[in-house]
């Protein structure tokens, strides 16, 4: 599903690479944590998978497609097969929960009729039934992140990327979000999550890839934070 082959990424003006000769494979349906201290390069992996940055060396293959050599006009279509959730939610403040999710559908050409059918369903799935017409500022942090997850998942992507999705949430809320991601994973969606929340990693007991100074130092099938 996801294949990193000897990937090196050095940002311009950086003294050392963010990722240094990293190789890693992720199978379809897996749930993988990338952990490591701040600046270790784990967020760069998400950016590489989204083609927000390109590697200096090596190959990134997602869904059987070589992202490294992908033409820029093909990127939008490619991104439709990937859902993404961030620490800061990235919701549109002037749109309701429903509209935020529907927006993601409408801008890729789905009709309003499709949105009317699919959006309530996915909001129900993330546990926001009845709160469709609230604005982000009327929702708690955990609820806002649920909206973000709904938006990422509404297209039924093959891969869900989560960049510190619990970074802004209290421990109890974090666990609820993890349950949600776990549920999405059980539908067959590959989940890649970058985090430094040791609590969560220890509770989930899933594959853990630890990165330090741009190198993989541990890759454990049912790992803990360490």
């Amino acid at each position: 599903m996801i294949q990193l082959e000897n990937v090196t990424k050095t940002y311009p003006k950086a003294s050392r690479p963010s990722l240094d000769q990293v190789s890693c494979g992720i199978e379809k349906g897996e749930f993988v944590f990338f952990i490591g201290p701040s600046g270790s390069g784990k967020s760069t992996i998400i950016k590489l998978l989204l083609h927000e940055v390109t590697p200096n060396q090596g190959k990134v293959v997602v869904n059987g497609r070589d992202v490294t050599s992908m033409r820029s006009w093909k990127i939008p279509h490619f991104r439709r097969s990937i859902g993404c959730v961030f620490q800061d939610f990235r919701l549109l403040p002037n749109r309701t929960a429903y509209e935020n999710v529907a927006f993601a559908l409408e801008v890729i050409g789905k009709t309003k009729a499709v949105a009317r059918r699919v959006v309530p369903e996915v909001l129900e799935l993330v546990g926001l039934g009845g709160k469709e017409h609230r604005y982000p500022h009327e929702l708690s942090g955990g609820e806002q992140q649920r909206v973000a997850v709904a938006r990422a998942f509404v297209n039924r992507p093959l891969i869900l990327l989560a960049d510190e999705p619990t970074g802004n949430l209290d421990p109890d809320t974090s666990i609820e979000i993890m349950r949600l991601l776990d549920r999405i994973n059980r539908t067959g969606t590959t989940v890649v999550m970058v985090t430094h929340d040791s609590n969560i990693v220890n509770q989930m007991r899933r594959r853990v890839v630890e990165i330090e100074s741009g190198r993989i130092v541990r890759d454990q099938a049912r790992g803990v934070y360490g």
Binding site: L50, S72, W73, I75, P76, H77, F78, R79, R80, I82, C84, R90, L92, P93, F103, A104, E106, V107, I108, G109, T111, K112, R151, N155
Partner: protein, 292 residues
Amino acid sequence: MQRLKYVLSEVMVGLWRNVTMTIAMIITMAVSLAMLGASGLMYMQVDSMKDFYYKNIEVAIFLDAEVTDAQRSELKTQLEGDPLVREVIYESKQQAYEKFKTMYADAPDLVNAVKEGQLPESFRVRLNNPEQFKQIFDKYENTEGIETIVDQRRLLDKIFNILGSVQNMALAAATVMAIAALLLVGNTIQVAAYSKRREVAVMKLVGASNWFIQAPFVLEAVVAGLIGSIIAFAGLAAFKGFLLDGSLRDLTDLLTRLSWGDVLLMFPLMAGVGGLVSAITAWVTLRFYLRV
């Protein structure tokens, strides 16, 4: 259909969100395009004047007061046999005086001051190619009995040069205004892109196509450009209607008349340039501010 509706409503919202900037953009665009249209009209005007006057243009060979009959008839045969010459018309002193009288009929003092016989007789020569004046001049310059050889074309060229430089000034002003207009378009698009940065980020994230992300911004600039060209056209039409056909009537009768058709022809030019240039500017600006 629905996406089109989305794009169009985004355009209207975009133009309205920053309405002072939009107005500034439209005004500079309109002034620039009006200048462009004016210089286009002037170009066509000079062209049609050239057509009109050059057809009737002659080389005038004025004869000495003491020219002999032999010299005159010899020159006539020489001119008639000249391959450069298409037509030779003799104008006697008396004919010259008659012509002078009708030409300055409304200035009787001037007519009275000139007596019959004072004006020189001349050969009015039309050339096959008016450009070849120099050859004629060199050939007959030293012929006995000739006082001067005058190329009327030279006189007209002076007028055309003046018109040409006015046209160039209008073009230069149009260019300067166009630069200001382009900077304003660029700035407006930057502001628009900034105020919609959240939407744009989400659109990129979920995989909206590039044209869909950029279309509202580009169309915003195009709509402003088109409104600018409509205002510019209205300005040109008013100029033609109120000034050229109105208070400046006497002056314009001297030149060839400017037709409404010519003015109308400037509209597609201005709309095309206004729309296209704004679209390109907006698109280039987006290349820098909406990296995909």
